[in-house]
C-alpha cells in the first residue's frame, strides 16, 4: 500500500462533551448553594448547542471581555478578602464559575468557537503572531471551565460521599470523550475502576494523614498559634481532637474586693456566623482602651475603689492587669459573652 498524506494538526484541548458543563455546574450549585444561579448558567451554556446563530466577535472584543472579567475578578478578590479575611480564599474559589462565565459564553456564541490565547494574556497581545506563533494560538475554554467548576464545587459544605462519586463520574465522562481508539473498552473501563478504588483510598489516606499530622503538631500549634483568640473570626475545629489541659499554670486571675458572685467559666470567644470553615462576628463594635502610664494596666470602666475587680494575666512573661469597677456581675457577663478580653489590646464592646 502506498503512503497516504496526512496534515499536521496542532494538539490542543478538545471541547467538553455535551451536557458535561451543565452537570459540572449542577454539582457546583448543589455544593456551594448557588443552584439558583447555576440553572440559568446551564441554560445559557447548553443553549449554544441548539442555537445556530453566532456573533462575529473580533479580537478586540475578546480582549475587552477578558479584561472585564479580569477586573471583575480583582474586585471580587479585594471585596472578599476585606470582608472574610484570608479564609475568604474559599469564597473566591466558590465564585470562580461566575467570573469565567462571560468568557465561556463569548467563546460558545462566537463564530470562531474558540478563544484567542492572547486575549487572556496581555503580554501576548504585543507579540507578532508571525514570529511568535503562541500569540496566534486559540484555546477551547470549555474543559478548563469544567475543571474550575469541579474545584470550585469542592469549596462547598455538602461533605458527603456523593461529591466524590459525582466528581469521579464527571472525570469519567470527559475521559471517555477523548479515549484513544487503540484500546478496547474493557481495558479502559477496568483501568477506570482501578482509578476509582485507588482515588477513593487516596482521599481517605489524605484525610488520615492530616489527622496524624495534627495530632503530632498539636502542641506546637497550642504554643504558638492558639495562644490568643481572635474575637472577629476563627477557623473551625469540628472533628479535631481537643486540647487537654496539661499545665497547672494560672493564665488569668480575678481579684475582687467583695466575694465574687458571677459565673466561674471564662469563655475565650463567641461567634455568630459560620461559612467555608470559618466562624465570624458580623456586627461587633469595639472600643480600644489605652493602657495606663505604667503600660501594664487598663481601666475598663471608671468607678469607686470599694468594689473593684482586677483581672490579671501573664502576657509575654510580664504581669498585666486591667481593673473594672461596679457593677461586678455585669462586667463579668460582658467579659464572658462578647470575647472582649483580647490581649494585649484590651477592648470592650460599646
Amino acid at each position: 500500500m502506498g503512503p497516504r498524506l496526512m496534515n499536521s494538526q496542532p494538539a490542543s484541548l478538545t471541547a467538553a462533551p455535551r451536557f458535561s458543563l451543565g452537570a459540572a455546574l449542577l454539582l457546583w450549585g448543589w455544593q456551594t448553594g448557588f443552584l439558583i444561579f447555576a440553572i440559568p448558567m446551564i441554560f445559557l451554556i447548553e443553549m449554544s448547542s441548539w442555537v445556530t446563530w453566532r456573533w462575529p466577535i473580533s479580537n478586540r472584543e475578546f480582549n475587552n471581555v477578558s479584561d472585564l472579567s479580569g477586573v471583575g475578578f480583582f474586585i471580587t478578590i479585594v471585596y472578599i478578602f476585606m470582608t472574610a479575611g484570608t479564609k475568604g480564599i474559599f469564597v473566591i474559589l466558590s465564585v470562580m464559575p461566575f467570573v469565567l462565565l462571560p468568557l465561556l459564553l463569548l467563546q460558545r456564541y462566537s463564530e470562531r468557537g474558540r478563544l484567542p490565547v492572547n486575549s487572556l494574556f496581555i503580554s501576548l497581545r504585543r507579540l507578532d503572531p508571525v514570529t511568535s506563533p503562541e500569540a496566534a494560538a486559540e484555546v477551547d475554554l470549555s474543559l478548563p471551565y469544567l475543571l474550575v467548576c469541579i474545584v470550585s464545587a469542592s469549596a462547598g459544605n455538602q461533605r458527603t460521599v456523593w461529591f466524590f462519586i459525582l466528581t469521579f463520574a464527571l472525570f469519567a465522562i470527559v475521559l471517555w470523550s477523548f479515549r484513544p481508539q487503540r484500546y478496547r473498552v474493557s481495558v479502559w473501563a477496568g483501568l477506570l475502576c482501578l482509578a476509582f478504588i485507588l482515588s477513593y483510598a487516596g482521599q481517605e489516606g489524605i484525610r488520615e494523614i492530616q489527622r496524624s499530622l495534627e495530632a503530632s503538631l498539636i502542641s506546637l500549634f497550642d504554643q504558638f498559634m492558639w495562644r490568643h483568640r481572635d474575637p472577629e473570626r476563627a477557623n473551625t475545629a469540628i472533628g479535631s481532637i481537643g486540647r487537654l489541659k496539661l499545665s497547672d499554670s494560672i493564665v488569668l486571675r480575678i481579684d475582687t474586693t467583695d466575694n465574687f458572685t458571677g459565673p466561674l467559666l471564662l469563655r475565650e470567644a463567641s461567634y455568630q456566623k459560620y461559612g467555608y470553615g470559618m466562624w465570624s462576628n458580623t456586627d461587633s463594635q469595639y472600643t480600644v482602651i489605652d493602657p495606663s502610664i505604667s503600660g501594664n494596666r487598663w481601666t475598663l470602666a471608671e468607678g469607686g475603689q470599694d468594689k473593684a475587680l482586677t483581672i490579671s494575666g501573664i502576657i509575654n512573661g510580664a504581669l498585666q492587669s486591667s481593673i473594672y469597677c461596679h457593677p461586678v456581675c455585669t462586667a463579668v457577663s460582658i467579659i464572658c459573652n462578647r470575647a472582649c478580653f483580647y490581649w494585649p489590646a484590651c477592648r470592650l464592646p460599646d
Binding site: M1, P3, R4, L5, M6, N7, S8, Q9, P10, A11, S12, L13, Q31, F90, L93, S123, R126, L127, V130, T131, P133, E134, L143, P144, L147, I150, V151, S154, A155, G156, F163, F164, T167, F168, F171, V174, L175, F178, R179, P180, Q181, R182, Y183, W188, L191, A195, L198, S199, Y200, G202, Q203, I206, R207, Q210, N235, T236, I238, G239, S240, G277
Partner: protein, 461 residues
C-alpha cells in the same frame, strides 16, 4: 555576574528542561489534569476547609495510572524526513515525514513530534543577550530575564514544529504526514529527534519512541519587491571580463586580427587567416565594459538592534534577487571577521548562491569602517555605483559615504531605522541628491519601498 545570577540561570535551565519533558510527555488533557492537581492541592491542603483534596486524589490517581501505562510502548517503526532545498523566513514551509510500521500489528492514534535543536544558551550568552521584545515586557520580566532566555532559545531553534496526528498505520505499511511551520530566522535550522508518541488509555500521558534523525535546512532571508536602482555611473572596464562574462554582453565583439603571440589562447586563432598566411593569426576582441554595482551591507550593530540588521539583510537579498533581471553585475561586500566580496549577475553565480551567503551572514559587534572602506576601494575602479544598506546614519557612516562621493562614485543609500525613530535623516554630503538617501522603517519596509516605486526613480545628477 554574582552567584545569585548563576543560581538563577541554573534554575532557568532546570525549569526549561522540565517544561520540555512535560511538553513531550503530557497531552493537552494531561496538562489540564496536572493543573487540576496543582489547584486542588493548594485548596485541599486543609481537608476540613474544603473537599478539594478529593479532587486532588482523583487527578493524581488518573495521572499516576496514565504514567504507569505509558511505560511500555512496543513497536518497530522507521521515520524518515523529506525536507525541501530551502525555506524562507516567515513564509510557511511544508515538509514530509514518512513513518513506516515494520511490525505485524497496526497502530492507531499515534502522534509524530519532530524537533528542532535549540541547545540551551551558555551562561555568557544569556548574560549578553538582548531582545527587542524586552521593551514590551514589564520590569520584573526584564530584570529576571526568563522571557529573554526563552526568546533566545526560540530564536536559536528557529521555528515551532506542530505535532501531527496519525489515525492508523496498518501493519507492514507506511504513512506520510505533512508538517507545516513558519521559520522564524534565516540560516541553518537543525532538525534533531523525531518522536513517535502513543497516548495511554486515558489520553493523558504519551509513551515515546525516539529516532535521532539529524538534518539541516537552510532558511533564506525574506525578500521585498524593490525598485530598480538607476545610478548615473557609466559602464566600467572589467579586467578579464571576457572570460568572466563569456555568455552575455560584449564578450564576443570582434575588433581586429593580429599576429599570434606566445600565450594567446588557441580559441582566439583565426583558422581561415592561418590557412591563407601559413602563420597563426589571432582575433582581437573589444575590452569588457558593463555595469557593475556594489551592494554594501552594513553589518556593524553597535546598539544591539538585531531587527534592523535582519531587515538590512532582507533588503540586500531583495536587490540580489532583482539583479537576475538585469544585464549587469552585482558585488555584495561586507565586513565580518574578514572582508567578503561575492559577485552575481551575467554568467556569474546564480542569485540563489548569493541568497545562501546572505542566509548565513552574521552581525559584527566591533565596527571597523576603515576596513570596510579599504575593502570597497580595492574594487572601486570596476564599480559603476554603490548601493549602501546602512543600519544607522551617524557620523562614521556619513564620512564613509562622503568618501565615495568625493571619488565621483554614484551612491544610493538606504538607512534602516527603528519604527519609532521619527528623526529626519540629515543628508550631509548627499544634499541636493534627492531620493538618494532613503530611510526604511523596520516592520514597514515594503510600504516604504513601494512608495519609492510610486514616486519614480530619483533624478540623475
Amino acid at each position: 555576574m554574582s552567584a545569585s545570577g548563576r543560581l538563577l540561570y541554573l534554575n532557568f535551565r532546570f525549569i526549561h528542561r522540565t517544561s520540555q519533558w512535560i511538553r513531550h510527555r503530557f497531552t493537552p488533557a494531561g496538562l489540564l489534569v496536572a493543573g487540576g492537581i496543582v489547584a486542588s492541592g493548594i485548596f485541599g491542603i486543609d481537608t476540613r476547609a474544603s473537599l478539594a483534596f478529593q479532587v486532588f486524589a482523583i487527578c493524581t490517581t488518573l495521572l499516576l495510572l496514565a504514567m504507569l501505562s505509558s511505560l511500555i510502548f512496543r513497536g518497530n517503526f522507521r521515520l524518515r524526513r523529506l525536507l525541501p532545498d530551502y525555506g524562507t523566513v516567515t513564509s510557511p514551509l511544508r515538509y514530509k515525514i514518512i513513518i513506516a510500521n515494520l511490525g505485524r500489528k497496526p497502530h492507531r492514534d499515534l502522534v509524530v513530534m519532530d524537533e528542532l535543536d535549540a541547545g540551551f544558551p551558555e551562561y555568557a550568552n544569556f548574560l549578553g543577550a538582548t531582545d527587542p521584545l524586552d521593551k514590551q515586557r514589564n520590569w520584573i520580566d526584564r530584570k529576571i530575564g526568563y522571557p529573554r532566555l526563552l526568546s533566545l532559545i526560540r530564536n536559536n531553534r528557529g521555528g515551532i514544529l506542530p505535532p501531527a496526528e496519525i489515525a492508523l498505520i496498518p501493519a507492514m505499511d507506511e504513512t506520510e504526514i505533512g508538517i507545516e511551520f513558519v521559520p522564524l530566522r534565516r540560516g541553518y535550522l537543525h532538525f534533531s529527534t523525531t518522536r513517535l508518541a502513543r497516548p495511554d488509555p486515558f489520553g493523558l500521558i504519551r509513551a515515546l519512541i525516539s529516532s535521532s534523525n539529524r538534518e539541516k535546512l537552510l532558511i533564506l532571508p525574506k525578500t521585498y519587491r524593490v525598485p530598480s536602482v538607476r545610478l548615473s555611473g557609466s559602464r566600467k572596464y572589467q579586467p578579464g571580463g571576457m572570460n568572466q562574462a563569456s555568455a552575455i554582453g560584449d564578450s564576443q565583439e570582434f575588433m581586429s586580427l593580429r599576429d599570434y603571440q606566445p600565450g594567446d589562447p588557441m580559441r582566439a586563432i583565426h583558422w581561415r587567416s592561418y590557412a591563407k598566411r601559413g602563420e597563426p593569426v589571432v582575433k582581437e576582441f573589444r575590452d569588457e565594459y558593463f555595469v557593475r554595482q556594489g551592494l554594501i551591507l552594513d553589518t556593524f550593530i553597535e546598539n544591539g538592534s538585531v531587527h534592523k540588521f535582519e531587515e538590512a539583510v532582507s533588503l540586500a537579498a531583495s536587490f540580489t534577487k532583482s539583479i537576475g533581471d538585469q544585464d549587469s553585475l552585482l558585488d555584495l561586500m561586507f565586513v565580518g571577521t574578514e572582508s567578503y566580496r561575492f559577485t552575481t549577475g551575467r554568467s556569474f553565480g546564480e542569485a540563489a548562491n548569493m541568497l545562501e551567503i546572505l542566509a548565513c551572514v552574521s552581525p559584527c559587534s566591533k565596527p571597523d569602517f576603515q576596513k570596510l572602506v579599504e575593502h570597497i576601494l580595492q574594487h572601486i575602479t570596476e564599480l559603476s555605483g554603490l548601493v549602501l544598506v546602512l543600519l544607522d546614519w551617524d557620523e562614521k557612516r556619513q564620512q564613509m559615504v562622503r568618501h565615495f562621493i568625493a571619488l565621483k562614485i554614484p551612491v544610493q543609500v538606504f538607512v534602516i531605522v527603528d519604527p519609532d525613530d521619527k528623526r529626519e535623516l540629515v543628508p550631509g554630503q548627499l544634499q541636493g541628491l534627492a531620493g538618494r538617501l532613503i530611510s526604511l522603517p523596520v516592520g514597514n519596509m515594503q510600504a516604504a519601498l513601494d512608495q519609492i516605486d510610486r514616486n519614480g526613480p530619483p533624478p540623475d545628477e
